[in-house]
């Protein structure tokens, strides 16, 4: 599961294609897999993948939480769209964010994504802002499992109606720490260029290495020298910022080396057709479909093992022209009664999540599919949008985690446990050697046993 295995696998495939194995023709997938479909013939396992699907403004808990618990749970009204992937989904309910609710949406978002409290940035008399105090869990995973892959992680955004004026928390999902977000790509054609444009090689393509790649690395090396000289003269805060910049420069070097080293493996990897330039709320379904397809192929091609989809931002004021509803955030505060319109939007969002999961499930790998190897968290910025609550938090877990997560999925209901218990469970499922996770009230050392295989 380490990068070494990946490179080994790539080398193996290259050897098979261009070396002596050519005489037996292209190897079938089965020939390279063990009888369980979890490992390749050389012993390298199919890697595990980690993903997040996130949306803003919570759910209607009455219509979200399944009535039955355990393995016999049935889909609730708002979860009904997950029908085709139900076996791959577990529901965790009754868990509470334990990092406080200092500011509606902000606190829930940071708590569920990082297991840590938010940092308020509200000097007297200035407009409010906040940021994360700790990395979001996608980056915790990325730091551990994606070393040497072309992309450390992929950040995808669907609705562009995100709050831009309150710091990084509401605007971005993925964070490396305070004020260091990883902004998402909202336009499928742009993500396509990044993933499958220059530098992407399909299996069997020439492996001749462009000498300009080495020169690009020399440029980055000079950039690091500039940073080193500068850093000596800076205060500690700025040193950290330069360190983060240089982390990004090293990630760029890794991308270049990934291009130089090898073509991607043959498994399910292929170049998708280029999507159109559609983007934004008018095309939520189409953008989500295109992004799901590219995320699946990015995993299949082992360009990355970590992704996050911010379907809509925290407090997002997304419009849903396809169902004639919006803006989402205002609706959660203005619609009375049982909030049927808010409910319809949650159902719409679950349809989009279902599409992502169905796309992964439809992508074969080994004797199974991509979803078999995935650990995916689905959640939001508050339990219910109207009262900004953080108790009984809506949490979905999808994928089999390479055999580490319970399958078929269950509904596990806690009586006020820590949402970080679920996060720790997921981090362990994807292979991180952690025994505890979270900070302050969000700290835990008790994973959810029922969610494990």
């Amino acid at each position: 599961m380490t990068s070494r295995n990946t490179l080994g696998r790539r080398s193996l495939l290259r050897g098979m294609l261009y070396g002596s194995a050519i005489r037996i023709g292209l190897p079938t997938l089965e020939m390279m897999l063990n009888s369980h479909g979890t490992a390749l013939a050389d012993g390298a396992t199919i890697p595990k993948r980690f993903g997040i699907f996130f949306w803003g403004n919570g759910v209607r808990l009455k219509k979200w939480v399944p009535s039955a618990q355990g393995p016999s749970w049935q889909l609730s009204e708002e979860l009904a769209p997950l029908l085709n992937v139900k076996d791959y989904v577990s529901v965790a309910s009754g868990y509470n964010i334990k990092t406080g609710n200092e500011r509606g949406h902000h606190a829930g978002c940071v708590g569920i994504l990082s297991g840590a409290p938010m940092i308020p940035q509200d000097p007297k008399g200035a407009p409010y802002a906040s940021t994360f105090s700790a990395p979001s869990i996608d980056q915790v995973v990325a730091a551990s499992i994606t070393d040497k892959l072309k992309f450390r992680s992929l950040e995808i955004g669907i609705s562009k109606s995100v709050v831009t004026g309150e710091g990084t928390t509401l605007r971005y999902l993925s964070h490396n720490g305070p004020d260091t977000p990883n902004p998402p790509e909202y336009t499928p054609s742009a993500l396509y260029s990044r993933l499958f444009g220059d530098g992407f090689k399909e299996p069997g393509q020439s492996t001749a290495v462009d000498p300009k790649l080495a020169l690009r690395r020399s440029v980055l090396s000079a950039v690091k020298d500039d940073a080193t000289a500068l850093k000596r003269r800076l205060g500690v805060n700025d040193q950290r910022r330069i360190d983060q910049h240089m982390e990004s420069i090293r990630a760029l070097e890794t991308q270049i080396m990934a291009i130089e080293n090898a073509p991607p493996p043959a498994l399910g990897c292929k170049k998708p057709t280029a999507p159109s330039t559609m983007t934004g709320d008018k095309y939520l379904t189409a953008v989500n479909d295109a992004m799901s397809a590219m995320a699946a192929l990015a995993l299949a091609c082992d360009q990355t093992r970590v992704f996050s989809v911010m379907f809509s931002g925290s407090v997002g004021f997304s419009n849903y022209p396809e169902i004639q509803l919006g803006d989402h955030h205002s609706l959660t505060h203005n619609e009375g009664g049982e909030q049927p319109q808010v409910n319809s939007i949650t159902v719409f969002i679950m349809q989009r999540f279902a599409k992502l999961l169905e796309t992964l499930k439809a992508t074969p790998e080994g004797t199974g599919n991509l979803l078999d190897s995935c650990v995916i968290l689905g959640s939001t910025d508050t339990a219910e949008g109207l009262p900004h609550t953080i108790n009984d938090y809506p949490i979905l877990i999808a994928g089999k985690g390479g055999g580490t997560l319970v399958h078929p999925g269950i509904h596990v209901r806690s009586s006020g446990g820590n949402t970080s218990d679920v996060l720790l469970t997921l981090l362990q499922a994807v292979g991180l050697p952690l025994t505890e996770f979270g900070t302050k009230g969000g700290k835990t050392s008790t994973p959810v046993a029922a969610l494990r295989a």
Partner: protein, 552 residues
Amino acid sequence: MIVRRFKPQALLLIGATLAGCSGTIAAPGLGGAPTLSSEDGPPGSPGVPTGQADGFEAAPVALRKLTVYQYENTVADLFGVMAKLPELEPDTSINGFFAIGAAKATVSVSAAEKFESAAFVLAAAALDATHRDAFVGCTPATAGCADGFVARFGQRAFRRPLTAEEVARYVGLASQAQAALGGDFYAGLSYAIAGMLQAPSFLFRVELGKDGGGNTVAYDDYELATRLSYLLWNTTPDDALLAAASRGELSKLDGLLEQADRLIADPRAKSALDNFHSERLSLEEIDLVDKNAKVMPDGFDDALKTAMKDDVLDTIEDYTFGANTDFRELFTTRVAFVNSELATLYGLPASSNGRVTLPADGPRAGLLGKAVFLATYAHTDGTSPTKRGKFIRERMLCQSIPAPPPEVSTVLPEPAANAPTMRERLAVHNSVASCAGCHKLMDPIGLSLENFDAVGRWRKDDNGHALDVTGSLNGSDFDGALQLAELLHDEESAIECVARQLYRYATAHVETDGEEPAVQETIEAFAASGYKFSALLRAVIGSDGFRFGARQ
């Protein structure tokens, strides 16, 4: 309508008059390209400037990442070529300003990718066969051409002379690339340029300062040149500014203000200050605002949104560079800038275009009568006195409003016979103690604007129901938007708020308690000038907070 520069421009169309095109990148008076030993660091002028005011305590220095606009303007000035740039990563606004976000920001992986692409695109465009002779300023056959170019271009890019070590670093890159690419001199140089454009020394505005006594540092001449240039032009210092820095003129207060006056008088100051006002008044928020068919039967199109934003910016320009000078009058002015669609919305003849004077006895005046603000701070289907009140408190009076407490229902009662207008429906806020405290600050001033609908059109009543638009601000009673505007005109915290916002924008942080003496001085100077915005600019530039920082 004026073409504005704060929309990201993928295509940079720059004339041929730029110094960067002419091969004379080095600042006049520098006597070629000076280099320093690597130990010296960037040079400053000798002597510590005028000391700080009594009780002033400087705030910590911080690197400032170039914003997208600053990056685009800067490379346009550096290269003077046409190039299609990749869309850069957007900036984060913190406490109301991208500048404050930029003082906390770093470079993400995808941002680094985009900066790398942009660097190579720009280098290739500048070095193509038609531009390169002028751009490089020497030919490959000239001895020391690469060294000279790197020193000259580097000084513009890093906004200070390069150290010898830095020159060697980028010349080394050029030589290595030239050798690897079949001896192509220009191909080699492109790697040196790409390196400088990705260096933290370019992407961040570095402020190290020199000893200013105690824990304080005084920004050096080049750092002040950079501060001045990005504040007033939102771009990199020009040759004249760098030359003044090399002569040590900017660390003297009169020298700094002399350059400030030159920059303020230049047309480039207009679009840079538009950027400030656009941010402080959150004008870009309108871009993502939608209205339903009840409010806008024909849709709320981008052209109208742009006209609404331009109305505010052009009116402010009128009070900055035009005949009008008292900034308080922005609350009461009858000046507006319209196109046909906005004129109709304002109840003017559709043939109106450009600068107009609204009827002196009409219901609409000042910033509070501007459609962009009335439409942004409303719902898709109706008005929101709370949102409007919150905006006035936060953005026009610099007062913080806390968020609603958790577990509180924010659903208002539906309109009913005994609650036909927003005033009766919002009364529920007064009946809940945990709501009343804050809503008392917002709802009453917002309710006085109920004569303007969800997109800013005047309405006499609300669906036939009479409107009560009375209220009070800080103890003074008023009746309707015009009287509220009169109160804001005389409200000290309103004019102070503009000064605080400019201070925040210029220094990239919210003023600290220790900086309050400097802030007060700028407020006093603003008042003493009769509220001339140019005087406020000079006061902020001359303030201790602009010229001094504290070590982190």
